[in-house]
């Protein structure tokens, strides 16, 4: 198992390299550059700028230089936010985005698993149909509709919660963006849990557990939950990816000072280093999560360990 884990860890490095390379050349293939403005700069100034940032070099030299600095943990200077390095920009926003994402993911997992289990235990009842219809709505409505709707309802009309903004330590500011961000993965996790649970509840070992006279709660917790969660484990990486892309929208609608905006603005501004830095951070997170999911599988089902 440990050897397998390190093999997987080693294979993450070429994966990351491929992602960085693809992003690097795709960004360069897009028309325009970081210093293009509505008013064209005089050619001498443009040439100076290009030289200062090394953009006058052949593209392969630039690529080599970027990889070299990346190896030293340096994402380079931002092309647009001229007084900041990419590391500084990400370092400021990342804790905010991480907090938002972790809270949304936790909410999606806890509520999704509870709802799915509830629906499976009340299979084909009104409660089951109601839960699953709600889940369908959650999957179908995009975040950029849900968040403004929640804002109008709970902020504008009911005055319960702030519509936007982010104050450190304020739960009330986090409520709406976290809920909006959690909703689609929550709904999907609920459906996966229900399906997994229904299959497990039909299995022979659950019949044995009933025959042993175990109380329902013990039976569900100890015997049914772990095998029922295998499909959910497979969905974890896509779920985090969906929360990452969702956070781009949520952060800009709710005015949250995270890193989501850098990816969109960076791409629009042709801020090459900023976009690359964001891609490295996001893909490292996802690849690392994939490794964790492998370990999770081994915990959910000991037969995987061999």
């Amino acid at each position: 198992m440990i050897r397998y884990f390190f093999t997987r860890l080693a294979s993450a490095i070429p994966a990351l390299l491929i992602i960085v390379t693809a992003t690097f050349f795709l960004m360069r293939a897009a028309p325009g550059g970081p210093f293009d403005q509505e008013q064209t700069l005089p050619p001498e100034i443009m040439a100076n700028l290009q030289r200062a940032y090394g953009l006058d070099q052949p593209i392969w030299t630039q690529y080599g230089r970027y990889l070299k600095s990346l190896l030293h943990g340096d994402f380079g200077p931002s092309f647009k936010y001229k007084d900041f390095t990419v590391t500084e920009l990400i370092g400021q926003g990342f804790p905010v985005s991480l907090q938002l994402g972790v809270m949304a993911m936790a909410l999606a997992l806890i509520a999704g698993i509870l709802l799915g289990t509830f629906a499976a235990l009340h299979r084909n009842s009104m409660a089951d149909y109601a839960t699953m219809s709600l889940a369908m709505v959650g999957i179908a409505i995009p975040v950029f509709v849900v968040l403004p709707f929640l804002g109008i309802l709970f902020g504008v009309y009911l005055h319960w919660l702030p519509v936007a903004g982010w104050e450190s330590g304020s739960i009330r500011h986090r409520a709406l963006p976290v809920i909006a961000l959690a909703l689609p993965p929550l709904a999907y996790i609920a459906r996966l849990t229900r399906a997994g649970m229904l299959e497990v509840l039909r299995s022979d070992f659950i019949r044995t557990a009933f025959a042993k006279g175990l109380p329902l709660r013990t039976l569900m917790w100890r015997h049914a939950l772990r095998p029922a969660l295998t499909p959910v484990a497979g969905y974890l990486v896509p779920a985090v990816a969906s929360i990452m892309t969702g956070s781009l929208v949520v952060e800009s609608i709710a005015g949250i000072p995270g890193i989501g905006r850098y990816l969109v603005q960076g791409a629009l501004n042709r801020d090459y280093t900023l976009v690359l830095g964001m891609v490295v951070v996001y893909s490292t997170l996802l690849i690392g999560l994939g490794l964790l999911v492998d370990l999770l599988y081994a915990w959910l089902d000991p037969r995987v360990r061999h």
């Binding site: 022979d204 019949r207 044995t208 025959a211 006279g213 109380p215 013990t218 089902d301």
Partner: protein, 322 residues
């Protein structure tokens, strides 16, 4: 004396799109304390469903009427909480397929110990050491090591021994063994039957031995019930049933048993025809279409199970052995 299990006029029907299907059609019998009763019949004859009803494990679309009393307490209408006090401790089950009946992600020790923790309120530590002693009792080598293993690390025979140990942990009054050897290979089968016999002697529990195989039941049962199409067709003391079967179906089943003594080249006799399809409503004797002795009366009128408790037969023209 109160019988350990008292089944009266039990009917089990499964609701289905095509209508109701009667799996068990008015069955009554008793199992006395420390008695071993064999229940024999082909698949679909309803033999397993009777005990599923007793354990409260019927499928969601099944409906059971009648009465199933365990040591005087009604089980059919019992609340799950009340049922949980009985099943797993006083009334236990050894399932058919030991490969799929243990929870794959829990260690053997947990699965055994939780029975003691749930029913006796012991600590996990005490429950584990008791479980280890019980594993030793059912001839599992290195019981301490087994407690820390997962089900997939054990062979089929070992897993069945674990299930057997689990069934006797709380000194039950009745153990239901549902085809306990069907999924095992022949040499292991004999060991498992021998183990059941020894445990019966030790714990003095009653045993309901369900099988489609008369040979499995033969060595252990005091009394045998033969089932056909959801009804009991014959009840007899085991020795008597083998020597003098009275129902034609029992007689045909006995002919189908291979013997070591007979000539080998002879093709094993089989029972011609099919049992009635589930859901078929029968006014007549269900066995009549396959019976060589069937007369007009058998196709018009259903025979009732009559006779003293240990020698009943449901047949208009039972075989006589005078």
């Amino acid at each position: 004396m109160t019988p350990t299990l008292n089944v009266q006029d039990l009917r089990i029907a499964f609701s289905h799109r095509a209508g109701n299907i009667e799996a068990v059609d008015g069955v009554s019998f008793q199992i006395g304390p420390a008695e071993c009763v064999g229940i024999v019949g082909e698949s679909g004859s309803g033999k397993t469903q009777i005990f599923m009803a007793a354990m409260g494990l019927l499928a969601g679309n099944a409906r059971a009427t009648g009465s199933v009393r365990f040591e005087g307490a009604e089980l059919l209408a019992a609340h799950p909480t009340a049922l949980n006090r009985i099943r797993g401790s006083k009334l236990t089950m050894i399932p058919q397929d030991p490969m799929t009946c243990l929870t794959p992600h829990l260690k053997i020790g947990v699965q055994l110990a939780e029975v003691m923790v749930t029913h006796r309120g012991t600590t996990w530590r005490d429950a584990r050491s008791y479980a280890a002693r019980m594993l030793e009792r059912v001839h599992v080598a290195e019981p301490r090591r087994r407690l820390n293993q997962y089900p997939h690390e054990l062979s089929g025979g070992l897993r069945q021994r674990v299930m057997i140990a689990m069934s006797v942990l709380c000194e039950p009054s009745l153990v239901i063994a549902d085809e306990p050897t069907t999924a095992l290979d022949v040499t292991v089968q004999a060991q498992v039957m021998e183990l059941l016999r020894a445990l019966r002697g030790e714990f003095g529990m009653a045993l309901a031995l369900i099988s489609h195989d008369l040979a499995v039941v033969a060595g252990l049962a005091d009394r045998i019930l033969v089932m056909y199409a959801g009804r009991i067709v014959e009840v007899a003391a085991a020795a008597e049933l083998f020597r003098r079967p009275r129902h034609p179906y029992t007689a045909e089943l006995l002919k189908c048993m291979p013997t070591i003594a007979g000539p080998r080249a002879v093709r094993l006799p089989t029972l011609a025809g099919q049992p009635p399809r589930p859901g078929e409503v029968l006014q007549a004797c269900a066995f009549a279409p396959r019976c060589s002795r069937a007369a007009d009366r058998c196709r018009m009128e259903r025979p009732e199970l009559v006779g003293p408790a240990d020698a009943q037969v449901a047949c208009h023209f039972p075989l006589s052995h005078d």
